[in-house]
Symmetry: C2
Subunit: 590 residues, 2 copies
C-alpha cells in the first residue's frame, strides 16, 4: 500500500480526491462520535476527521490511538470549516474511510514537541531518534543537505572533481592526537584516522587532477570542548596553478550560493580583507566579529608618562594599554562595570579602567591620577561624546587582547548591537608562518607544516623565522573561523627546511614524510587550497550555537554516544585477534 500524498501536500485543489496518507499522530481529540487527528510527517500536518457515522470501525479503532502512533488512512479530501492559515494544508481535511494502525508507540520519555530546554540534553541524546522528530532538529539536517548539495554542484560546475581519499591512513602525530586503528593482519601496527586529507589532496595535485574537492569526515582525539566532536566534516578544496585570488573567488562564490539557496540571502562579494596583525591590533583576536564595531584603540603613546602606576608599570614591562568605546552607555552602572571586571578576570586580565563622558567631562574613579592634558587626549583619541564609556585594559599584549576581545563580544550582546540575520564575512590574511608552542617552547606551524611562507619572507627562515608571514588566510563569519586556506609548499627542499625548523629529526622526516618529500620531486605544480568546517558553517546557517543540533547523531563532550552506549568494552577474542592487551578497563557509567 503506497501513500498517494505526503502530509504536507494536499490543499483546496485536491478537494473530492480519494487519497491515502501515512504518518504519525501529532494530536488526537475525541468529541464523542467524531474524532480529529493531526497526522504528521516530515512534509507537514494534515487534519483527519473520523466520523462514526461514516466509518464506525475507524472510529472504534481511533479510541486506541495515542500520540506518535503510525497510521495509514484512506479517505476523501474535503474543505475545512475552521481554516488554519498557518498550515499549507489548512484549508482542507480528510474524511477517513479506512484506518490502519501501522505501528504503536509507548509514551514518549520526554515531551518531544514542547520546549526542549525543559528536557536535559542527555535524555534527548539517548532518544535522539525522537528528538529528530522535532522540526528544530530535522529542518537543520535538511538545510545541511541543501547546503552540501549546493556546494557539490557549485564546485562541479567549476571543474572540481570530488575524490574520496583513504580513511585508514598513517599515523603522523604532529598537531592533534590521532585516533588509531589496530591492524589484525600485521600485529602491533596501526592505521590512523585522518585529521585531514592534506597529504592525499596534495598528491592528487602532483597526480595532475588539477581541481579536487571532497567532503570528508576528519578525526581528532582532543580533549573535550563545547563546539568539538571527535569526528567532524570538512569541505576540502585544492587546486593547481593560479593564486590566492582564485581561492578567494571560489570560496566567496561557494558561500554566496549556499546562503542564497538555503536562506534566500544575497551575500555581497568580495569579502572584506584584514591582515592578521590588524585584526589583533583592532579586535584582539584573529577572528573578529564584524557585525559590530567597538574597535580597540591603543593608548600607549598618550599614557606613556602616566602617574597611574598600573599603566606606567605595564608600559615599562613592554605591555600594552588598549581601550574600546561603547556609545550611549548611560545604562552601564558602576555595578555593571564591576560585573565586567569580574568577567574579564577569567581571561587573566587583572582589572579594567573605565572613563565615562558625563556633563562633557571624563568621569572615573581613577580620574585623579591623570593630567588634564592626558584626559583631553584620551577624549579626543576616543572621540567621546556624552554618555559614552571606554573600557581600558593594561597588561601584556596577549592578555589585553584576550580580555578585551571577550569583553567586546559580551558588550555587543548586552547592548543589542547584533542585528538578526546579519552575516559579516572577513578574510584574515598574512598569518605568521610559525608560533612558539607554549608546551615545548619550540616553533610550531600556525596552520600546518605544508603552508608556504610568503615569497618575500623566504630569507627570514634562515635569520628570524618567527617573523615570517605565511601565504595563509582564514575566512571568518560573525566571529567564527569557518575556513582556512593557504598556498602549499611545492619544493622538496623548502618542505624539508620547514620540517627541520619544526625540530623534526632527519630520521623523523624520512619515516613520516619521506615518501611525500620524494613525491614533490616528480613535477609538482604550484597548488593551494582551502577547507571549510562544515559543521560550523551549518551551525551559523541554521542560527544555532549548539554544534550537536546540526549533526544527526552527535556525541557528548567526552565522545560518548548516549543512544548506542559506545565506546564499549569488547570481547577477549576481538583483542586477541588484534594481538592487543588493555592495561585498564573502565566501566562507563551509563
Amino acid at each position: 500500500m503506497r501513500r498517494t500524498h505526503t502530509c504536507g501536500e494536499l490543499n483546496k485543489k485536491n478537494i473530492n480526491q480519494k487519497v491515502k496518507l501515512c504518518g504519525w499522530v501529532n494530536k488526537i481529540r475525541d468529541f464523542g462520535g467524531i474524532a480529529f487527528i493531526d497526522l504528521r510527517d516530515r512534509f507537514g500536518l494534515t487534519q483527519l476527521l473520523i466520523d462514526s457515522k461514516i466509518s464506525s470501525s475507524a472510529y472504534e479503532l481511533s479510541k486506541e490511538i495515542r500520540n506518535e502512533f503510525v497510521l495509514q488512512i484512506e479517505g476523501e479530501v474535503l474543505p475545512r470549516k475552521d481554516i488554519n492559515a498557518k498550515l499549507s494544508t489548512g484549508e482542507i481535511e480528510i474524511i477517513v474511510k479506512n484506518l490502519y494502525i501501522l505501528s504503536k508507540s509507548k509514551p514518549s520519555p520526554f515531551p518531544i514537541f514542547e520546549d526542549p530546554t525543559q528536557t536535559n540534553e542527555e535524555l534527548r541524546l539517548k532518544y535522539r531518534y525522537l528528538d529528530i522528530r522535532r522540526k528544530q532538529i530535522s529542518s537543520k539536517l535538511i538545510i545541511r543537505h541543501m547546503a552540501t548539495q549546493e556546494i557539490r554542484n557549485y564546485l562541479t560546475s567549476q571543474n572540481f572533481v570530488e575524490i574520496t581519499t583513504p580513511t585508514l591512513c598513517k599515523s603522523t602525530p604532529e598537531g592533534a592526537r590521532d585516533y588509531l586503528v589496530p591492524s589484525r593482519i600485521f600485529p602491533g601496527n596501526f592505521y590512523a584516522l585522518p585529521q585531514s586529507p592534506q597529504l592525499f589532496k596534495q598528491l592528487l595535485m602532483i597526480g595532475g587532477m588539477d581541481r579536487y574537492f571532497q567532503i570528508p569526515i576528519c578525526y581528532r582525539d582532543e580533549d573535550p570542548r563545547a563546539d568539538r566532536q571527535p569526528e567532524f566534516s570538512q569541505v576540502d578544496i585544492e587546486m593547481s596553478f593560479g593564486d590566492k585570488e582564485d581561492i578567494y573567488e571560489i570560496a566567496e562564490n561557494l558561500t554566496k550560493t549556499v546562503f542564497k539557496k538555503c536562506l534566500g540571502l544575497d551575500i555581497k562579494t568580495p569579502f572584506l580583507k584584514m591582515s592578521y596583525t590588524d585584526a589583533l591590533e583592532k579586535y584582539g583576536c584573529d577572528k573578529p566579529d564584524m557585525r559590530f564595531d567597538l574597535q580597540f584603540v591603543r593608548l600607549d603613546e598618550i599614557l606613556k608618562n602616566s602617574n597611574f602606576a598600573i599603566f606606567s608599570d605595564t608600559l615599562k614591562k613592554k605591555g600594552s594599554i588598549k581601550a574600546f568605546k561603547v556609545e550611549k552607555a548611560s545604562d552601564i552602572s558602576r555595578k555593571k562595570v564591576d560585573d565586567y571586571t569580574q568577567f574579564v578576570k577569567q581571561f587573566n586580565l587583572k582589572g579594567l579602567a573605565t572613563f565615562k563622558m558625563q556633563d562633557n567631562s571624563l568621569q572615573s574613579p581613577i580620574a585623579k591620577f591623570f593630567t588634564d592634558e592626558e584626559l583631553k587626549q584620551i577624549k579626543e583619541k576616543m572621540d567621546m561624546k556624552e554618555n559614552d564609556i571606554i573600557f581600558i585594559a593594561a597588561d601584556m599584549e596577549d592578555i589585553v587582547n584576550q580580555g578585551l576581545d571577550h569583553l567586546r563580544r559580551l558588550l555587543a550582546k548586552d547592548k543589542g548591537l547584533i542585528k538578526e540575520n546579519d552575516y559579516k564575512f572577513l578574510w584574515v590574511v598574512d598569518f605568521p608562518l610559525f608560533e612558539i608552542s607554549k608546551k615545548t617552547n619550540q616553533l610550531t606551524s600556525t596552520h600546518h607544516p605544508f603552508t608556504s611562507p610568503n615569497s618575500e619572507d623566504l630569507h627570514l627562515l634562515d635569520t628570524d623565522p618567527i617573523k615570517a608571514k605565511a601565504a595563509a588566510y582564514d575566512l571568518v563569519l560573525n566571529g567564527y573561523e569557518i575556513a582556512g586556506g593557504s598556498q602549499r609548499i611545492f619544493s622538496s627542499d623548502l618542505q624539508e627546511k620547514i620540517f627541520t625548523l619544526l625540530n623534526l629529526t632527519k630520521e623523523d622526516i624520512a619515516t613520516k614524510f619521506g615518501f611525500f618529500i620524494d613525491a614533490l620531486n616528480y613535477g609538482t605544480p604550484p597548488h593551494q587550497g582551502i577547507a571549510f568546517g562544515l559543521d560550523r558553517l551549518i551551525m551559523l546557517l541554521t542560527g544555532t550555537d549548539n554544534i550537536r543540533d546540526v549533526i544527526a547523531f552527535p556525541k557528548t563532550l567526552k565522545g560518548l554516544d548516549l543512544m548506542m552506549n559506545s565506546p564499549s568494552l569488547v570481547t577477549k577474542d576481538q583483542l586477541d585477534e588484534l594481538s592487543l592487551k588493555t592495561k585498564e578497563e573502565v566501566n562507563i557509567n551509563w
Copy 2:
C-alpha cells in the same frame, strides 16, 4: 600568474590570441633552433613551438627541460601545419614568447604512459600519484565523480535527504569482523568503524526523516580477496512507507540516469526479475550474468534409471544432474573438454560428461551407457542441433551449481558470447531469510538480521525457519551483485524473535541491540532500503575488472598502503595514552 586556458581548450577560434598555459611536459623534441613541446594537463594536450628566433631565452631554457617538468608559458595561438585530428587542440599550436619552469621532475621510476601491464602493480601503487597522471586512472576517477554527482542529484530530486551518520560506532560483531578504535578517555573501551550505517538509517526512519540517503565509507576487517578493500563506499538509501516497487523504481531510475550521464547509454527499465530459486536452478548462482544464455537444464527425471553409475549414484544420494548446451561447438575439441574438466575440479566438481551432436547423433565417450530412449530424451530436452555440445554435471546440488556456474561463465568468454558495452540488469528476489553457517552449523541471516521475512512466511519462523523467504532482493549487473535491499523489520517482538533464532542470548540482545529494540516501540514506520556497492558499480561503469582502478589511493589485498607505508608501528607514548599493550610487533617488509 593565472593561466588563461587549460591545455584542452584552445582551437581555431582562438587564433592570434595571447594566452598563458600551465602543465606538464608530455614530450619534447628539439630540432636545433626550434623545439616542440606537448604540454599536458587533465583537460588535454597543447603543442608549443619554441623558436630561438622568436625567444632565444625560451629556447635556451628549453634545453634543460625533461618529461614531466611543470611549465608556465605565455605565447600566441597560431594555426598548425600538420593538423592532428585526434586532438581537440590539433589545429593550433602556441608560439612561445615566455617560458618558466615551475617545477622540475626526476626521471620517472616507471614509464608512466606506456602499457601499464609492463610495470608491476606494486610499483605503480608506491608511486600512485604518477599512475594517476595516466588517463586510464584519472578518467575513471572523473567518471566516479560524475556518477556520484548524478546519484546525489537524482535522489535529491526524489526528496531524499543526505544525512551523515557516525563512523565512531559501537562494536556489534555479528557478520564480519569490526575495525576497532580505542578510546583514550575511557581506557579499555573501543569504538568500531561501521560495516554499514544500518541501525542509524533505521533510526532516521523512526525519527521521521522519511527518505534518507548517504554515500558512506564502510569497513570490514575480512581476509584478503581480489575485489575487496578494507574500506569501501556504499550508496545507502532508506525510505519509509511504500513497498518494494518503490525501491525497484528508485534503484532503476538511479541506475538509468547514471548510465545515461556517464556513458550516454539508454538502459531499459523495468529490469528483469527472477526468484532466487530460479536463479540457482537455471544459472547455479544468485547473481547470474544475463548477457548470454547457456541456461541449465535438469536431467534428473530422464536419467533416474541410468546405467551410468555416477549418475544413478548421484540421484540415490539426493544429488542433481544438470546440463547446459553450447551451440556451434565444433571448435570444442576433446582436448578442450579435458581442460574444462580440469577447470571445474577447483570448484570440487569431480568430472564433466559431454555429448556432442554430430551427424545427427549424440557422440560421447560414455554414450554406450545410455539407452536409445535416454539419448533421444536428452536430445529433445536439450533441443540439440548439429555441432551443439552439452556439459553435464552430477553431484550434490550446490557442487553442481558452483561448478557449472563457473564453467558457464568461462565458456561464454571462450565462445565470445559477451558483447562489448552490454549491460544486463536483473533483480534476484525472494532470497531465503536464513542460511546455515558452515562454521557454526547454526542459522545465520542471508542478508542481515534486520531483514523482514515475507509476511506469508511468518508462521515458518516457529516451525521451519530455514524455509522462510525474506522480503529481500539483490540487483545484479553482468554477473556482479551491485546492490542489495530489503523490507526491514519494524516490530520489536519480531526483531527480538529473529535475534533469538540467530542464537543470541537475551543478554547479548540487551547489550548490543537493546536500545534499538526499544526504539522500535516508539512509533516505527514500515521502512525499506537498498545499498549499492559504489566501487563495484564504478568498476562496471568504467569497464575495468580491477577494483583498485576506481579508487584514488587503494590498498593491496593485505590492506597495505604501499605509498605511505601504513599501517605502521606507533610510539610507546601513543599506546600508553590509550592504555594499550601490543603482544607482538611485526616489522612490515616494505
